[in-house]
Symmetry: C2
Subunit: 243 residues, 2 copies
């Protein structure tokens, strides 16, 4: 019960040092053959190909031509390696489109976030639960809030909007990654359709919706749809603040 709690604190300290600490160059001893960036890159390559289950200290070490234990000179443990991989994979936040309004900026922000999660599907599973955020991750958040300054929303509302958009991007990336072939609606048909076949009386509304979705041949529009709904709702709120 408290096992996860007690050394969870120590783990947070270690990861914080790893993500935010200044890279102190030691003065003696042989030169390190590896760098944190190289290790994170190797880990990302493996996780991109085989997911988090395929990520092994052994495999990371092999891809860098080192022994497994050599990695522990750079990274306290596997959890911290994954944390470092997340920070590296999200990367620096992109520059906002100049001269655009808050809506276009947030739209672009959410789509960029979606793209990152699409490129690194393992990041979805790795970013559940409490964790220490790094500079890059915080930079993305900063950029979303910067887009909202001057809209009349208060701080809490701005944070809520950012959380809302981030959740949608995450959710859609997961939805799309889960069904890696074709459009979401297409995979919905093959995956859900197989389950629903022969159970029409039990899920009538679901059957009708899936059938209609397949008939309309609507392509990958789930991201656009949710984004439009959310931003419509936010715009409505902002308009009531600036009558």
């Amino acid at each position: 019960m408290d096992r996860a709690g007690t050394d969870g604190v120590a783990d947070k300290r270690k990861l914080y040092e790893l993500l935010w600490g200044t890279p102190s160059a030691p003065r003696r001893g042989p030169r390190p053959t590896l760098t944190l960036a190289a290790i994170a890159g190797a880990g990302i390559a493996i996780a991109d190909a085989d997911g988090l289950e395929g990520l092994t200290m052994q495999r990371v070490a092999e891809s860098l031509d080192v022994t497994k234990m050599a990695l522990y000179r750079y990274v306290p443990g596997k959890a911290e390696l994954v944390g470092l991989m997340i920070e590296t994979a999200v990367g620096e936040p992109p520059a906002p489109p100049q001269g655009a309004g808050w809506r276009d900026q947030l739209d672009d922000w959410a789509r960029q976030m979606f793209d990152r999660f699409r490129r690194h599907p393992w990041a979805l599973a790795a970013t559940v639960g409490a964790r220490v955020m790094g500079p890059n991750e915080l930079g993305w958040l900063e950029r979303a809030l910067a887009a909202l300054t001057g809209t009349g929303l208060n701080g809490g509302e701005m944070l809520d909007v950012a959380v809302l958009l981030l959740g949608h991007a995450r959710n859609l990336a997961q939805q799309v990654s889960a069904m890696d072939t074709g459009t979401p609606e297409q995979a919905l048909e093959s995956g859900l359709g197989a389950l629903l076949r022969g159970r029409e009386e039990r899920f009538p509304a679901l059957i009708a919706a899936v059938g209609s979705a397949a008939a309309h041949a609507a392509q990958d529009q789930a991201l656009d749809f949710g984004l439009a709904r959310i931003l419509d709702g936010v715009e409505l709120l902002i308009r009531t603040r600036h009558p």
Copy 2:
């Protein structure tokens, strides 16, 4: 690369049988001392207390007074056990509030979903990526779509709305579970605030937002806020369909 793909098919078959197959009562041999429900319940209790990392076949077996290998007579493997736990933990979808409009129904649906994820935080991590859904999980989806029938939306749009709401409930449950003490805004202050302290020039908008959020002393309103924005957006769309 194809390792996850090849036996992933077999795993899906097994889990499908487990979730959708009829419980065939064998005619010979000694009576089973366990039931699938009991196993799933034991697993849920452990995961509720210590998370998915604390879930071990050993511990599940111990809590049922059986050997570890006895579980494999009921469940093909740990992945399938987790799948069964998910299906059991979400449970049957609640009855919709009678006589309510689509908006109230969906509002209630999303909050119920949020509650389930709050009660079983491990379910968030367990439901990432492609997976086989069970009858209960599909029942929840059915209920959301049933609430939307008659609004004039087509099947694809109805599915998109359901995905949008589900994502928000998941996202907020994760956000709240990540910071288990106090309100989200409060934990945001202690967690983010600690990171931001001393870096004011780097994250100005973030600093301002967090400070303002703490000053307004807004309590757990992120769920309400996002829900209101989303449903506002959906209502706007429905109104344009029924002028």
